[in-house]
């Protein structure tokens, strides 16, 4: 491991009993890029993210996230890394602002800064009107937006998004993708997102990794994978074609 990349893993493996959820994963993610993590259900995407956050201990292998070993120094990693779980939950009896404030306090963000950020990020995800409503009354998509705002409240350097656009309406999806894009380009954040929505991934991701049955079968910029899998001359390709090709081979 060279230590120049924001995320590096080497032969990272996670076994649940006899089943290998993640099999000798070696990957690097550069600072500032948007990385799309693809793979069928049960491929091990969530498990990988959990290991990179120090929430699950790897069975073997090494990982470094912003220079720290997530198993040994989870605290350091969690200070700088944001995580939106697949199914994000909230304190339903509190309103959106109270939820955000609580997370901000846990991250030691000073009070005045917190209030400014809450206003800003609620605006960005399109919830500023609903900020004082109890989260229990939120729709699925509103919860998803609030989840994104909550991750961004600590303005992390690196964000793991587990299926971030699930449940969003078309307009919401577009705004979310634009937001993710601008986070990378304007705020220099690094985004690691897992998704099944390949057209979205194709739209915003700089590089993708395809994981099947715990094994990383491909990794690189989408054009590169296209050249490799679909032939040199093909101009019109979709990520879906590439993905299906890898999927059938595996």
């Amino acid at each position: 491991m060279t230590g120049q990349n924001i995320v590096e893993t080497e032969e990272l493996t996670k076994k649940y009993g006899a089943q290998t959820a993640v099999n000798r994963l070696t990957l690097q993610i550069e600072e500032g890029e948007i990385f799309g993590f693809l793979g069928p259900n049960g491929a091990g995407k969530t498990t990988t993210i959990l290991m990179l956050l120090g929430l699950t201990e790897p069975t073997s292998g090494k990982a470094a996230v912003i220079g720290f070993d997530p198993t040994r120094e989870p605290f350091k990693v969690k200070e700088k890394v944001g995580y939106l779980p697949e199914n994000v939950g909230f304190y339903d009896d509190m309103d959106a602002r109270q939820n955000l404030r609580y997370i901000a306090r846990l991250n030691r963000i000073p009070g005045e800064v917190t209030e400014k950020r809450i206003d800003y990020w609620l605006e960005m995800v399109g919830l500023s009107e609903e900020g004082s409503k109890k989260v229990g009354t939120y729709s699925k998509g509103m919860r998803q937006r609030l989840g994104i705002a909550e991750v961004l409240i600590k303005e992390p350097k690196l964000i793991f998004l587990d299926e971030p656009t699930i449940g969003l309406d078309p307009d919401g999806t577009n705004r979310m993708l634009d937001l993710i894009h601008s986070l990378s380009r304007e705020k220099k954040m690094t985004l690691f997102l897992s998704s099944h929505l390949l057209d979205q991934v194709q739209r915003i991701c700089d590089r993708v990794g395809i994981m099947i049955n715990g094994k990383l079968v491909a990794m690189g910029p989408i054009e590169e994978l296209a050249k490799k899998k679909l032939g040199l001359d093909q101009e019109d390709y979709t990520l879906e074609e590439i993905y299906m090709k890898y999927f059938k081979e595996a």
Binding site: K78, P85, N87, L106
Partner: protein, 321 residues
Amino acid sequence: MHGILTIFRKELGDHFNSMRFLLISALIVMVGVIITSMVGMAIQEELRGMAKPTLIFLLLFTSTGKLFSFVQFIGFFGPLLGIFLGFDSINRERVSRTLSKLVSQPIFRDSIINAKFLSGVTVIAIVLVATVLLISGLGIRLIGVVPGVEEVWRLVIYIVISLLYISFWLGISILFSVVFRSTATSALASLAIWIFFSFFVSLGASVMADAVAPVSQTASGVDAEMLIRHERIQRVASLVSPMALYSDATTTILDPMRKTTRTLILMGPMERFSMSRFQSPLPLLESILIVIPHLISIVAITLLCFGICYFVFMRQEIRTV
């Protein structure tokens, strides 16, 4: 430290806003007031025209009156306060999927448990102090006696013992909330333990004593040695139960005419001698010395269950399931 404080503040707010807490503390206060009124009026009646004996104030807490004493009530019902404050503390967050979010913030994982435990202990302390103050105020009006320094000290120690005792139950219920994924299951498991210790341990203790040292009525009367063994076994066996520990400890502190936590039969000759000879209350310091082993036992079982809780929680896989 920062993490603990933040979670602690939130949990405390949650407790005070919850219907559950309001109901159970209202119940405790209500029963306390009713018992005190009954006991207080009875004492007032009996003492008419007499000089007030020493340490009479404590009778407010220990007299059984027509039903049961306040001390007995807390011994039996106090565990429910602890259980209700803790039984869903972790699994509630698991069900609402906030736990995985919480553990991905820059806090140590143990601060979640610590903060939840501490906020529960704080609530228990507030309820206990408020109730004892209320009863004392009522008592002062009813029997017209102001508690002396020693009585106040004994009450303070009583509150501390009760706090430890109820915190043990809080610990048990938090442990179950870590182990069981469903809040209903952890509530039931805590209640099962509570019922087990309240009813079956004392029953089991006497069954065991009967089996090991049967006391038979012979022509020459009761075999004294056997009776002593019987009592001793029953006592030791029932000390497994935190309720027995608690009731022993609190009676010694609040009822200083008793000089030992043991029953009459088990007293040595010197103890019995001194008891009949000097019908004066045991000094505070000696009462404390007698209950210290009990306190240590209660603290030890609390720490044990907290330790298990820690161990399980720190190793538990946090998934959004």
